[in-house]
């Protein structure tokens, strides 16, 4: 019997073929778009922050100021105040939106009569453009002709200058944001709840969980990754929120409602300090990055395997 093993010499390595570079080739367009659309503007913002450029002048003539904008920013109490406003805004809106969105999702999850109609009505605010949201609420909150003061007047409450008082205006933007974004949490959570395996939920009933234990120990932990995604998206949104506040209050009174993004907008376009505004944008990117990173540390929803 001839020994065939000796005639077969295994190749030292896998012979080259197109399939080895295929995957890289396929992600190339995505990477290109990402670099051009995401990374380039960030680098550009950073670059701009090193110059003192005014619109209408040649950028080539703009004086290089190095880190002067950044140094000014670190000592600028307006910037810190606006970060503080943003954090407070984020805390109140996100926690109330999460609570309301999750509660409503839990209530409307069951296919009871009329729930689907209510669900549709309920997500309407999400479909309204932020500019329109700002306009609607600006007129509702208007001190002189607004409905809110009108109806409060009907029950004998003195008219209030909703958008002209620091704490009332803050309340107004929080309220408007909740009005607009609770539906977002609601849809995401209700989608997550409906995808939960029914047997696990039944198992917890048999295990003796009462209504709130059922929600707290089983349902919510099981949609944890969805809650995290919702939280992350809202948090990033808070730092991007601009249109509604711009129209509703313009950041006022004072800086009571001037979120960081609006502060940047006002610096860049109202007071024409583009370089300085860019420096603050860089700070914004850093803050959002750190917050997102912290949340992803708590549990990366993208890395988890599908739950059984």
């Amino acid at each position: 019997m001839p020994d065939t093993t000796e005639t077969i010499v295994p190749a030292a390595e896998r012979p080259w073929d197109l399939s080895m570079v295929g995957p890289y080739l396929f992600i190339l367009p995505a990477v290109t778009v990402m670099l051009a659309g995401l990374v380039y503007p960030v680098i550009q913002a950073f670059y701009l922050s090193l110059y003192d450029w005014k619109i209408g002048t040649d950028f080539g003539d703009a004086p290089y100021v190095g880190t002067r904008h950044f140094i000014r920013m670190l000592g600028d109490e307006n910037v810190w105040e606006s970060i503080w406003v943003t954090l407070r805004f984020g805390f109140w809106t996100i926690s109330i939106e999460m609570f309301l969105g999750v509660s409503l999702a839990l209530l409307l999850e069951k296919p009871i009569r009329g729930a689907s109609v209510f669900r549709t009505i309920f997500i309407l605010p999400l479909m309204v453009s932020p500019v329109v949201v700002g306009l609607i609420w600006r007129y509702l909150f208007d001190a002189r002709i607004g409905w809110i003061n009108y109806y409060l007047g009907q029950i004998g409450i003195e008219p209030r200058v909703w958008l002209g008082d620091a704490s009332l205006a803050f309340f107004a933007i929080v309220f408007t944001d909740i009005w607009q974004w609770t539906p977002f949490i609601f849809i995401i959570v209700i989608a997550g709840l409906q995808a939960l395996p029914s047997e696990v939920l039944e198992a917890s009933k048999i295990d003796g969980a009462n209504w709130w234990q059922h929600i707290l120990f089983v349902k919510l932990p099981m949609i944890r990754s969805i809650l995290l995604i919702a939280l992350l998206m809202r948090l990033i949104d808070v730092f991007r929120a601009l249109e509604v506040m711009y129209i509703l209050t313009g950041g006022g009174p004072g800086r009571a409602t001037e979120l960081l993004s609006l502060h940047i907008y006002n610096r860049a376009f109202d007071t024409q300090q583009l370089g300085y505004a860019s420096a603050i944008s860089v700070l914004l990117i850093v803050i959002v990055f750190l917050l997102s990173f912290a949340i992803l540390k708590m549990g990366n929803p993208m890395s988890e395997k599908a739950d059984i």
């Binding site: 047997e199 039944e202 198992a203 917890s204 048999i206 295990d207 003796g208 009462n210």
Partner: protein
């Protein structure tokens, strides 16, 4: 009255009635298997016992208490689901102890019982793993463990083995039977697999389209199937059914390609009947090869001509796909492991094992 009782229980989904009035009674400590094809209402029945599905009418009693409208946690039951239904966000210990923790059991007690159950199920080394890091069999055992630590009055199983591979399923069947003996609790087990029913049950409930077809021990339902459905459902491979003429002279049954004398048991049953059309039932395993050693044939064995199409060798037996007078049947012939492939010819059938069924009602003639 202890155990589990269902009294005139019905269930409708809208206008569709899926369970007609149903009466069942399980004794305390009994292992009952409810078996039937999918859609027969067995799972709905189990879920009504568990309290996951409200009854439309009727009453359910567990351990002598009326629990018809009680919530699941008030019924003193534990349940194992087909998908195991483990909590993905808890580790094995957490899954097993969840019910105890909810009930406010002291920590030491919880730990002791979880460890005892884990020991019994050989899960001790996996206590800190999440379900997603376990194999199917291990998950199955965790689901089992979760039920065991409860020490409930009644255990409910909803097709718990159907997601396992065949070998594991056989092992788990044995383990479940052992477990039942150890725990000595009432167990209600739902499956569509008659082997599970036969191997584990003290009593089998066979259901079809919401109706109970027969209740009995494995022996009873195998040996004395009450009707065509039970006869066909219990036993593997399934019983062969052939149209035949019952002839009062003899008495005997004849049909295309066979002519079999009735055994004494049936002779009495058909005594006084006139000749008529019946359905005759022959189990595959009651066929036998013709004796080649020239010994005397037992009086109960009658010759049958089989046209063999395929002979499947499975070790000590061969499964035949054959025909009798043009009708397709199957037969399992014990011929020993060294036999040559069987061919067409005259085989024997044990006439003691003949079943007769009424042509119109399908009920067994006994």
């Amino acid at each position: 009255m202890s155990g589990v009782q269902l009294v005139d229980v019905t269930k409708s989904f809208g206008a569709v009635n899926v369970i007609p009035p149903l009466n069942l009674s399980f004794a305390e400590g009994e292992f009952v298997v409810i078996v039937g094809p999918s859609g027969c209402g067995k799972s709905t029945t189990l879920r009504m016992i568990a309290g996951l599905e409200p009854v439309t009418s009727g009453a359910i009693q567990i351990a002598g208490k009326d629990v018809t409208w009680a919530r699941p946690k008030e019924r003193d039951i534990a349940m194992v689901f087909q998908s195991y239904a483990l909590y993905p966000h808890m580790d094995v210990a957490g899954n097993m102890s969840f019910a105890l923790r909810l009930a406010g059991t002291p920590k030491d007690e919880v730990r002791r019982r979880v460890h005892a159950a884990a020991e019994m199920l050989e899960l001790t080394e996996y206590l800190e793993r999440r379900p997603k890091d376990l194999s199917g069999g291990q998950r199955q055992r965790v689901a089992m463990g979760r039920a065991i630590v409860r020490d409930a009055y009644c255990f409910l199983f909803d097709e718990p083995l159907s997601n396992l591979d065949a070998k594991l399923r056989a092992t788990m069947r044995t383990e479940l039977a052992i477990l039942h003996r150890k725990l000595d609790r009432t167990m209600v087990y739902v499956t569509h697999d008659q082997i599970e029913a036969m191997t584990m049950a003290d009593r089998i409930v066979i259901m079809e389209k919401g109706h109970v077809q027969q209740v009995g021990t494995p022996r009873e339902v195998y040996n004395s199937p009450r009707n065509l459905f039970v006869a066909g459902f219990i036993g593997s491979p399934s019983m062969n059914f052939l149209d035949a003429e019952l002839r009062a002279d003899g008495p005997r049954v004849t049909g295309q390609g066979f002519d079999l004398p009735l055994p004494p048991r049936l002779r009495e049953a058909v005594d006084g009947h006139r000749s008529r059309q019946v359905i005759v039932g022959l189990r595959p395993e009651h066929f036998a090869a013709p004796r080649t050693d020239g010994g005397t044939e037992a009086s109960s064995l009658a010759p049958v001509d089989l046209g063999v199409k395929v002979a499947e060798y499975i070790g000590s037996s061969q499964f035949l796909a054959a025909d009798i007078g043009g009708r397709q049947i199957s037969a399992a012939i014990e011929v020993g492991p060294d036999s040559a492939p069987l061919t067409s010819g005259t085989y024997l059938f044990d006439t003691n094992r003949i079943y007769l069924f009424d042509e119109t009602t399908g009920d067994a003639i006994t």
